[in-house]
Symmetry: C2
Subunit: 210 residues, 2 copies
DNA sequence: ATACATAATGGACGCACGTCCATTAGTGAC
DNA sequence: GTCACTAATGGACGTGCGTCCATTATGTAT
């Protein structure tokens, strides 16, 4: 058996590296000039590869786009996962850590916010893309819901189900709204303000904990 | 002086009617197949006019796009304005009327949500479009802020400025988030739940009024 | 009636797009 | 060193785009 398939940087034949290069170039261009203007010629120029590579590795430009958003979402999830590993079990801290991570520069920056919006904008007509865009699914939602369930039980809250649902759904909606506002108003956007507002929302539902 | 310039439907020469027809066709197509696939050929076919009309009336396809989003936003604002005229002066009722209007079928439906997202997605690279997309400007924000100012004064709240800012900003962010969620999950989206969640957020900040 | 102004037409044009494939270059096996 | 295999190249191809303009149709003023 030959040595591992991982691409050493010196090799001129490195399909995985080239695939990743094409995906990164695509994401960069989308964040800079938008999806409609992101052409095959610009992508290959940015990635520094030849014209046939997209067809060779992805089959078509559309499939490259799908691979790009998939990779983008996987990176996003990976960052969240890493945050959740490091944080303690206290549900209040877990929720706030999630929010802080979502609002931090690693996840909420101009590039990523633009990419999110660009994909959202074209996702509806295309089910292949829509699959990757849900807010309601995914780790973040589950972790948050679990934390709120714990708190609702501690409080012996009546109608705890609705409380948990409202808290989870509302927090995610607030985070979504913050992303939109970040893009509309990047320079005056305040991560501190955003975090405080979300905290105030949760504090209204769980006054004893936040 | 001849009769009014308003287009009677029988006339074959009706520039204003044709302009509006092109704009409506453009918005329809954007909501159905997205901006990248909305071509000149499809627009004129949908509008039932000839190929040269876009160049004649708007100068180019790009300018038609800008005119379309402008018209879309004006319609949106007009609906809000009409709601605000009918509602009483009580600040609590004004805020809730605004929220209810924003979540109502007239403003939040599949077509409009898709159009919003499509334009948001391409707006960042294009300042001409970005101008029309802000959440933080506009009537809705001002009306909401005024209402919260009134309430904060009644409560003699300390740090009322921050309270008002957080309430305004947070409510708008929640509404934005609801729009995103509506699109991601149209069939299971509940306007009632959305309204209740936003109300709970505001109630946390103004417990004596909501 | 006639002339004038302009709304509207639709085909032609050049260009840039995404796709594809015959060819070349690089890599590991024998 | 040779062979076999596959990654990578880059130009050619056809398609469909947006733009434009010479022409026609329509309504208005004289």
């Amino acid at each position: 058996m030959a040595q591992a398939k991982t691409d050493d940087t010196s090799s001129k034949r490195a399909p995985e590296r080239h695939k990743r290069g094409l995906i990164d170039a695509t994401l960069d261009l989308i964040s800079e000039i938008g999806i409609p203007d992101t052409t095959v010629s610009l992508i290959i120029e940015r990635a520094g590869v030849s014209r046939g590579m997209i067809h060779l590795h992805f089959g078509s430009k559309d499939k490259l786009l799908i691979a790009a958003i998939r990779a983008f979402c996987e990176d996003y999830d990976a960052v969240l996962e890493r945050v959740l590993e490091d944080v303690e079990q206290n549900p209040v801290e877990r929720v706030m850590a999630l929010i802080r991570a979502d609002l931090g520069e690693a996840l909420l920056n101009e590039r990523s916010a633009r990419i999110w919006h660009a994909f959202r904008g074209v996702a509806n007509p295309s089910p292949d893309l829509k699959r990757y865009c849900g807010t309601r699914d995914g780790r973040a939602r589950d972790v948050m819901k679990d934390a709120f369930v714990t708190l609702a039980r501690q409080d012996h809250a009546q109608d705890g189900d609705m409380l948990v649902r409202d808290a989870t759904f509302g927090t995610l909606a607030l985070l979504e709204g913050m992303y939109v506002d970040y893009l509309s108003n990047t320079q005056s956007f305040s991560r501190r303000d955003a975090e405080r507002i979300i905290r105030r929302f949760i504090a209204g539902l769980f006054p004893d904990h936040f």
